[in-house]
């Protein structure tokens, strides 16, 4: 009597790591990014308020200054990861069709990368000129 080639134990199922195949890591990462988001959001609000109504030249100068640019970059990158996890959570809760779920998760990743990269590129261009 030969042993079966695959035995699916409960542990193996657990290590399948759920609907997104990544276990509870994202839960924890969502908490880390949410803590970081509090001061960074306050910084964003202050920066945007300070820039509303100013001339283009002034906006370029202030957004490109190191402290402001670094805070903006931190806000963008932290928010990008936070919103990527968040939208994935929403998709996994409501989209059950496997194909549509896969496409939605793909779209989520593409959207977040595009928005984050475009924003980061703009900040870097403002910082380094050209």
């Amino acid at each position: 009597m030969s042993a079966p080639r695959h035995i699916v134990t409960p542990m193996r199922r657990v290590r399948g790591l759920g609907a997104a195949r990544s276990g509870t890591a994202h839960f924890w990462h969502q908490r880390i990014t949410s803590v970081a988001a509090v001061p960074l959001t306050i910084a964003l609000v202050v920066i945007v308020m300070a820039l509303m109504g100013r001339s283009h030249a002034a906006v370029v100068q202030i957004l490109g200054s190191p402290l402001v640019a670094i805070l903006m970059l931190l806000f963008i990158l932290n928010t990008a990861y936070h919103m990527w996890i968040g939208m994935q959570e929403i998709i996994l809760d409501y989209v059950h069709d496997e194909l549509f779920k896969f496409l939605s998760l793909l779209g989520n990743t593409f959207f977040v990368f595009a928005v984050a990269l475009a924003s980061v590129f703009a900040i870097l261009k403002l910082s380094f000129g050209v």
């Binding site: 949410s34 109504g53 968040g86």
Partner: protein
Amino acid sequence: MAEMEARARASSQRPLSPHLQIYRPLLTMMMSIVHRVTGAALYFGMLLLAWWLIAAASGPTAYANVEWFIGSLIGRLILFGYTWALIHHMLGGIRHLIWDTLNGFEPAEREFLTVASLAGSIVLTLLIWGAGYLVMGGPR
């Protein structure tokens, strides 16, 4: 074949656990939904921030277009809604972080946290816009 049909019928007749429609709407529940909705709105709202930054990096003409849009009635409504969503999601997030420490679960405490995050988001949004108009020298 008959067995599969019987199984399919059995699974379709299985009792389902109750969902949202049987619960009395509570403030904590509504705010939980609003937290998710504001999160989704902020997700797409990041396009506005990206547009603003790209326009600033592109030049005065592109920047003038964003300024025109933000200055328009629709633009202001969107930005006002974005401000409220951002602040509400932030305060709701802080509430969730407090709950993550297993504090604030008593009935009075969780009601207070929920009301405080809602009221706080409205007050802070109005303060931010008031201060914004002060910085810019009044509504234009």
